[in-house]
Symmetry: C2
Subunit: 264 residues, 2 copies
C-alpha cells in the first residue's frame, strides 16, 4: 500500500524536506490513493520513510492541515477530510412567500432538505452597547446600551452550523416580546411589524476570516477552515434600517447564494 510515497518519487526539485513530504501526501490524496476518511501513516512512520526527524513530518502535516486537506485526531491519527455537502443560504432567506408555502423557517427548510434535525438554542437575550459596525447601521449610539441583543446557536443533528446575533433598537424592544424568549407569531419580524416596520429590502455585507477562539470552539472548525461573516441589515418601507444580524458560518459547511435582476 501507499506505493507512491517514497522520497525519490517525482520532482523533488530541491524543495525543503517538509514541503517534499507534504507534496507526496497531497499527491496521494488528489490521486485518490488516499480516500476521504482514510488514515495517514503516523508522524513517526512518515519521518522514518522520508529519513527525517519526526518534527519535520509533523511540519508537513501542519501544512496539509492548514490547507484543510487533512485533520488530526489526538490518539487516533491524521485523517483525510471528508468532502461535506454544503448548507446553502441565500437572499430568499427572508422571503415570506417561502414561509407561507412550507410553514418552515429558512433554516428548518434547509435542514429538512438535507434530512437533518434542526435545533436552535438561545444563548443570550440582553441589553448591550452595540459593536461599532452595528451602531452605524442602526443609527444608534455606540457608547450606550442602545440595543437589544439576541444570540442564538443553530444546530443540524446536534452539529453546530451557525451563530446568529440579532440587534434591534432598545427603544423599540423595551417591554415588548422582542426581549422575551418567545417572540410570538411571525417571530421578530412580526413584532417589528407591530412597530410599523415592514421588511422591504435587505442588505448583506459579506467577509471571510479565521474564526475567533470562541467561534472555533462552538463551530468546532478544524484548523484551516475559515468562517463566513454576514452582516445583514433590514430596511422598512421608508428605507429606514430597523434590524441588524450577524451570521457566522463554518465556511466548509456553508455556501451563500444570491439571485438578483440586473438593470439594463
Amino acid at each position: 500500500m501507499l506505493t507512491g510515497m517514497s522520497p525519490q518519487t517525482s520532482g523533488d526539485a530541491g524543495q525543503l524536506p517538509s514541503r517534499r513530504i507534504a507534496d507526496a501526501v497531497r499527491e496521494l490524496i488528489t490521486s485518490g490513493e488516499l480516500a476521504p476518511g482514510d488514515k495517514l501513516p503516523s508522524e513517526r512512520e512518515l519521518a522514518h520513510r522520508f529519513g527525517t526527524a519526526r518534527n519535520t513530518a509533523r511540519e508537513a502535516i501542519r501544512l496539509l492541515t492548514e490547507e484543510a486537506l487533512v485533520t488530526p485526531h489526538h490518539g487516533k491519527g491524521v485523517f483525510v477530510r471528508e468532502k461535506q455537502r454544503l448548507f446553502r443560504w441565500g437572499n430568499d432567506r427572508y422571503s415570506r412567500k417561502t414561509y407561507r408555502e412550507t410553514g418552515l423557517t429558512p433554516f428548518r427548510l434547509e435542514m429538512q432538505r438535507q434530512g437533518k434535525a434542526a435545533s436552535i438554542q438561545a444563548v443570550a437575550i440582553d441589553r448591550v452597547t452595540p459593536p461599532l459596525d452595528v451602531a452605524e447601521r442602526l443609527n444608534v449610539s455606540p457608547d450606550e446600551e442602545s440595543v437589544l441583543r439576541r444570540l442564538n446557536e443553530y444546530h443540524a443533528d446536534d452539529e453546530p452550523v451557525q451563530l446568529v446575533t440579532t440587534y434591534v433598537r432598545w427603544s423599540e424592544a423595551e417591554g415588548t416580546p422582542l426581549a422575551e424568549p418567545k417572540t410570538g407569531p411571525g417571530g421578530i419580524y412580526g413584532r417589528l411589524e407591530d412597530k410599523g416596520h415592514t421588511l422591504t429590502t435587505g442588505r448583506d455585507e459579506i467577509t471571510a476570516r479565521m474564526p475567533t477562539h470562541a467561534e472555533a470552539q462552538f463551530l468546532q472548525t478544524p484548523s484551516g477552515v475559515p468562517v463566513l461573516d454576514v452582516l445583514h441589515t433590514s430596511f422598512d418601507q421608508n428605507g429606514e434600517p430597523f434590524e441588524v444580524s450577524r451570521f457566522v458560518h463554518r465556511a466548509d459547511r456553508s455556501g451563500l447564494v444570491y439571485n438578483f435582476p440586473i438593470e439594463n
Copy 2:
C-alpha cells in the same frame, strides 16, 4: 515599553507556555499598546522574557499568525497587521446604469473611489475542458474542450486584488472577438449580446476557503488569510445561462455587498 508583557501578568490559568505568550501579545495588540505596523519583540527576545525555548515563542507567533493578527517578514521581524480598507463588490457590479453614468467598469470605479491605479492583466485566453461546477452551470460537457476560458489578474497600484476566470461556451465564442484579447465595445457582454444573450439576471454562489498554493502566490496572502470564492452565473432574457465567472478575492482586502428586495 511593553510593560504589560511579563510571564506573571494576568490570568495564566495553567495554560501552555505557547498559549500564555500568545495571549500576552494578543492583549498588547487589542489594548493598543502594540499598534498596527509595530514590530513585535524578536522570537529570541520573547523566549528569553518568558523563560522558554525559542521554538515555544515561535509557536506562539504561529498561533497569532494563524489568527491573522501579525505577519512575519523574513530578516526584519514580526509586525502587527495593518487594518486595511476593504474593496467592496456587490450586485451592482453588473449594472449597466452605473457604467453609463460613469463610463467606468465596476472594478475601475472602485479603484477610483479609493484613489488607486487599476490595472488588468490577461493571463490566458484558451479553449479548455471546464471544471465540473462550471460545466453544470453552462450546460456543457465536462469531458470535452467545450468552453473558452479567459483568465485575468486585477491589480490596485500593482497590488494583486482578485483573480477572475470567465467561461463561455466554445460554440458561441469560436471565431468571435470573445477569443481575442480585445473584445471590442461593451466587452464580453457586448459580444454575447450580439449572439442574442441580454444579461437579465445573475446568481452569485459564495464560499470561503484557504487559498491554493498558486492563488496564495499571486494574491500574496499572508498565512491565516482565506479567500472569498464567488461563482457567478449570467442568465439571459430567456433564463438561459450563458456565462460563468469565478472571482477569487483576498478576504482581508475584499468584502461583498448585496442589496435585494424582499417579497412579502
